[in-house]
């Protein structure tokens, strides 16, 4: 199965019943699968006029009780930034899939890249935290989409599945769970009569449109009951600090990495998404030559696994960071370590090869 198709199926297993989107290569196959299957499962597929409206439709559907998702690529992701901010401010759980392609702008429309890593983190304005997961196999496209839905409900927050065109358009084996009971679903917490929809708890329960309570949902600064207050400094301060803290204080619960051979590692390759595949091949090849090279794959990109990166600083001489961009995560790693960080970057729509990652490692460790 294709990575894109696996993400669409993962959404269905997670209980997604609303998709609003606008087709774009290399993400269109996600919409194609959901357009075919959602109506048969009493769900809704809506093709909107653009990506701004697409995410808007998702947010509206979620407030009326749906589990909603949209999927796009770089140019559409740029357009969605406004509503991503709105989703953060209104604490609307939803999943946004970005199948990254070569940019800026139209770039190489059909070719893969990993250039939206920082846009996922800071694309929308204002202080905020972000949750973004990066799959590096077709199986993970399925599994992590389910995780994205659960994280979105758990934290009442938009969650980004940060795919790339290489993984989205990759075909390999996928194993479905035995039955729906095998998929743990985080249910939506709904507010009781005395509970506030935008305060009280750090992750407050939601109120839904059309039920027994009125709710005011605003992207403007608001009080715990949802009513606007855009002039009181403390109201804004408390709201935005809570929105940041609900993620930041639970980093350990959210961040996930896959590590191999770190115990004896003198150098380590830190990787994610499509670049993780040749990275593993390169680390295996280096170890076959007797070199003590470790492997750390970031499954969670945001919040950044800073504890795991800081831990490397004590131990390794060099951190290698292969990415299909000009060093976006490489620079993020530099914020947390004092050892040398060597970016292995490649752009132009072609994946890194095992050899391209292995060469700089051999050059340093086996001169």
């Amino acid at each position: 199965m294709l990575g894109d198709e696996a993400a669409a199926h993962g959404a269905l297993w997670a209980g997604c019943n609303f998709f609003g989107g606008y087709p774009i290569t290399p993400a269109s196959e996600i919409a194609e699968v959901l357009a075919r299957l959602l109506p048969r499962m009493n769900g809704f597929y809506v093709q909107m006029e653009d990506e701004i409206a697409s995410l808007g439709a998702v947010l509206g559907a979620v407030w009326s009780g749906a589990r909603g998702m949209t999927a796009t690529s770089g140019p559409g992701f740029s357009l969605m930034q406004e509503h991503i901010g709105y989703a953060i401010m209104t604490e609307t759980p939803c999943v946004i899939v970005d199948v990254q392609r070569s940019g800026p702008s139209t770039g190489q429309a059909t070719k893969a890249a990993q250039g939206d890593v920082m846009q996922a983190r800071w694309g929308t304005h204002g202080d905020h935290e972000m949750i973004a997961l990066a799959p590096s196999s077709v199986q993970e496209c399925f599994d992590l989409t389910i995780d994205c839905f659960n994280l979105a409900e758990r934290f009442r927050q938009p969650v980004i599945l940060l795919m790339d065109g290489e993984i989205g358009h990759l075909r390999e084996n996928l194993t479905f769970p035995d039955d729906t009971a095998a998929v743990a679903r985080q249910e939506r917490a709904l507010a009781g009569p005395d509970e506030q929809p935008f305060g009280g708890a750090e992750v407050p329960p939601m109120i839904q449109f059309g039920y027994n309570r009125y709710v005011h949902v605003s992207g403007s600064t608001h009080k715990p009951d949802g009513m606007r207050d855009v002039s009181t400094q403390s109201v804004h301060d408390q709201l935005v600090r809570r929105l940041v803290s609900k993620i930041d204080s639970r980093r350990e619960e959210i961040t996930r990495v896959e590590s191999r051979w770190l115990e004896d590692a003198e150098a380590v390759v830190v990787c994610y998404g499509a670049s993780a595949r040749p990275s593993l091949g390169a680390v295996l090849a280096a170890r076959e030559q007797g070199l003590k090279v470790g492997y750390l794959r970031l499954i969670t990109i945001w919040p950044f696994p800073r504890a795991e990166i800081k831990a490397l600083n004590e131990q390794v001489a060099t951190i290698y960071v292969p990415e299909m961009n000009l060093g976006q995560i490489s620079r993020e790693i530099e914020r947390f370590v004092s050892c040398p960080v060597e970016s292995i970057s490649k752009i132009g729509g072609v994946s890194l090869t095992i050899q391209e990652i292995l060469e700089p490692i051999l050059k340093k460790l086996k001169p």
Binding site: T25, A109, T110, K111, E166, H169, L170, R171, E172, N173, A274, R277, P278, L280, G281, L284, G349, V350, S351, L352, T353, I354, Q355
Partner: protein, 176 residues
């Protein structure tokens, strides 16, 4: 083993890789297929890589090809340099003129011509070529390939595609 199908968009390049990958999975092997195409719906440069292995597959981009199947001259020119020494080269004989100085002796098949003359449809050239590749390269069994071809063929065309596959397979047995 890895194989690259390459040519123009619209020739069934990606579908060929998809069918081969599915056949490998049918034989309980690990298979990975990637694709690269232009923004044109037809006529752009197109390739589809398949890696088949008994072990987990790490690489995505192939550095040295075991088999190159070229459906067009530009694709041949672009990728012949990626074929490893002693690698297998297969060309669509009516669309590719190989470099006379190249060390590779190609296996040649007029797949488009066979598909049109014997089956009335040029679009089945990729089924002919898949039969040819199966006979020469033997990436998976003939039966697994036929199952995958039949499963992928548009409704009502399975028999014709299997006929095209058989014609290609026979041609392959004669060339091998």
């Amino acid at each position: 083993m890895n194989i690259r199908f390459c040519g123009f968009g619209g020739q069934g390049i990606i579908l060929s890789g998809y069918i081969l990958g599915n056949a490998a999975i049918g034989e309980k092997l690990q298979a990975l297929q990637t694709q690269s195409y232009g923004s044109e719906s037809r006529g752009g440069a197109c390739k589809s890589d398949v890696i088949i292995s008994e072990q987990a597959i790490h690489e995505i981009e192939i550095e040295q090809l075991d088999v190159l199947v070229a459906f067009s001259q530009p694709a041949y020119d672009k990728y012949i340099g990626d074929l490893r020494p002693q690698g297998i080269l297969i060309i669509e004989d009516d669309l590719v003129v190989p470099d006379p100085d190249s060390p590779f002796t190609p296996y040649r098949i007029k797949a488009t011509d066979i598909a049109y003359k014997q089956f009335g449809r040029k679009i089945m050239a990729n089924s002919v070529l898949l039969g040819f590749v199966t006979a020469i390269v033997k990436p998976v069994s003939r039966a697994a390939m036929e199952t995958a071809v039949a499963a992928t063929a548009p409704q009502g065309t399975a028999e014709a595609n299997l006929g095209a596959f058989a014609a290609g397979f026979q041609a392959g047995c004669e060339s091998a």
